[in-house]
């Protein structure tokens, strides 16, 4: 694993340090790594990587253009699908932005339900990461165990919103519907059993000599590099910098929950793995607190200009009928202005910049995507490592290509 002394970064075609020429290899968009359609053009000197150039755009969906053509309340459905491993967190960023522009505050029960869904999603996203990373590095049983827990979380999603993955649960004005008693029961059972499962994963991986030798020392990202490259999420917390939006710039009532920010000074893939495991434990802690303190009350803001009136009112009140009609044909209009709201997803800072021109459709919606910025750090992490380590490094960056390409 040691590099020869005095190796410099060379360009394609030039002489490599070991005597041969540099070879350009294409890790094409269709390859076995389950991270989506990412294409990497890698210059190799023997087995060592000399440069990595990611080519993206293979999953570009035109989400930002699509949102300009949909009304404000319709846009929620589309926000689910860019970072497809954590849909409620994307919904939350958009909902908070629209609510800020409208100047409304959601009731406390809605905030608590939003926190519950966000933490469940964080768990689900880290489980997918661990399962697929384990699969790539050879620990195939991790995939089976992690997806078993994820299935429980998806069952809970289905109970509360009817959808397994793209719930569209968190909407501007509140949430889609109140939690059913069965959901609260399922959540309680889940919170009791999940720490045991996390212990299981740690038993399998944390002191495993193969896992350690494949991740310790690989993909080093120094704290200065992480700050300069704008990385967020476990990429920056794995390099020792204590920055988590839930603690530093809290939203949705996160300041009321007692949890620690997971930080590791290792600066390598193993450190990021430890950060994510700790984040999973802290997520269970937050879920316990949120469930115990779940306040009563309405789950939606009581503003007829934003949300439709209950069906019973339509029989008696003309004004309710007019509001209902206007909301379902044209939709509400948001006052002109622009706002940026960021939330902490499993990958880092996922934010939504919304520009309104006063009409019933947005002028511009821009998603600040954590994976887009984190992917630019790939070259810095992969330099002078072996080809086989590239797989570990792509895995540790935990990029979701839907988020990168939008």
């Amino acid at each position: 694993m040691s590099t020869p002394q005095g190796v410099t970064i060379t360009k394609t075609g030039e002489q490599g340090a070991f005597g041969g020429e540099l070879l350009t290899v294409n890790f094409g968009p269709h390859h076995p790594s389950t991270h989506g359609v990412l294409r990497l053009i890698v210059d190799l000197d023997g087995e060592q990587v000399r440069s990595v150039k990611p080519v993206i755009g293979y999953l570009h969906t035109g989400i930002e253009k699509q949102m300009e053509a949909l009304r404000w309340q319709q846009g929620v459905v589309v926000t689910d699908r860019h970072d497809y491993l954590s849909p409620p967190i994307n919904n939350l960023a958009y909902a908070l932005a629209v609510e800020k522009l409208m100047g409304v505050d959601v009731p406390p029960r809605a905030d608590a339900l939003r926190v519950i869904m966000s933490e469940l999603t964080r768990l689900s996203s880290h489980l997918v990461w661990m399962g697929t990373s384990g699969l790539e590095l050879g620990a195939m049983s991790m995939l089976m165990y992690c997806f078993r827990e994820r299935d429980t979380i998806l069952d809970m999603n289905e109970e509360i919103s009817g959808f397994r993955m793209h719930t569209s649960y968190i909407r501007p004005g509140g949430v889609m519907a109140d939690a059913t008693p069965r959901f609260l029961e399922m959540l309680d059972d889940f919170i009791k059993t999940m720490p045991g499962h996390i212990d299981e994963y740690e038993d399998l991986l944390t002191m495993n000599p193969i896992w350690r030798s494949r991740t310790i020392g690989i993909g080093r990202l120094s704290p200065e590099d992480a700050k300069v490259l704008g990385a967020t999420g476990p990429m920056i917390r794995g390099s020792g910098i204590d920055w988590d939006l839930r603690k530093s710039m809290p939203y949705s009532g996160y300041e009321n929950y007692d949890f620690e920010v997971a930080v590791s000074d290792d600066c390598d893939c193993y450190g990021r793995y430890l950060v994510r495991i700790k984040e999973m434990r802290e997520a269970v802690k937050i879920l316990r607190q949120a469930l115990d303190r779940l306040p009563d009350g309405p789950v939606n803001v009581d503003d007829r200009k934003m949300l439709p009136p209950p069906r019973e009112e339509l029989e008696t009140s003309m004004e309710a009928v007019i509001h209902h009609f206007k909301l379902f044909t044209e939709g509400y209009s948001v006052p002109p202005g622009d706002v940026y709201v960021a939330v902490e997803s499993g990958r880092g800072e996922n934010g939504c910049y919304v520009v309104s021109d006063g009409t019933h459709k947005p002028r511009r919606v821009k998603f600040r995507s954590a994976s887009f910025v984190n992917l630019q750090a790939l070259e810095r992490m992969a330099l002078n490592h072996m080809v086989a380590d590239m797989i570990a490094i792509i895995g540790t960056a935990d990029t979701v290509l839907g988020d990168v390409d939008r």
Binding site: I56, G57, H60, G62, E64, K65, Q66, E68, A69, K100, L101, G103, K227, V228, L229, G230, W243, S248, M249, P336, G337, D338, V339, Y340, A342, E349, G351, Y353, V355, S356, D357, G358, R363, R364, K366, R368, F372, V373, L375, Q376, D405, R406
Partner: protein
Amino acid sequence: MSSRGPLSIAENLVVERGVSAGDAWVTVEPANIKTALQSLKDDGFRLLVFLTCVDHLVDTSRQWPARYELVYELRNLDSKEQLRVRAFVDGDPPHIDSVHDIFPPANWEERETYDMFGVVFNGHPDLTRILMPDDWVGHPLRRDYPVGGEVVEFSEEHQVWQTAPEDA
């Protein structure tokens, strides 16, 4: 806003300032964008959160100085303040200086803005399309580019989405 008083940007660079839904913003001339961002970075705003463009074609909510508005959001990790810097450019294609040497994350963000809006960043090392295929014609996020897709019968959108919007 900062408790130390006015920002470190020299007052002669700031064209306008304001607050929008709780977010502080300033407008600078596009020619001064590098100086302004460098002085903000020296003052502690060391993270470029995002960089994007907004197309104000036929936007009647206020008087806009130019059609394309470039938006840079900066954050100070120590004091947790955020500031939005705007620059209005016009032209076909519009030009502005690249800030990738001040903030490395801007490299790909500027490529994306070029791909989607056609804004040319002077001094960018590799200004090529990043999300659309390399031989794509047109800049999709401009307001006069139609949404595209398939015509869906009996939907109110099918007429609107197939033509470039007259009134956005």
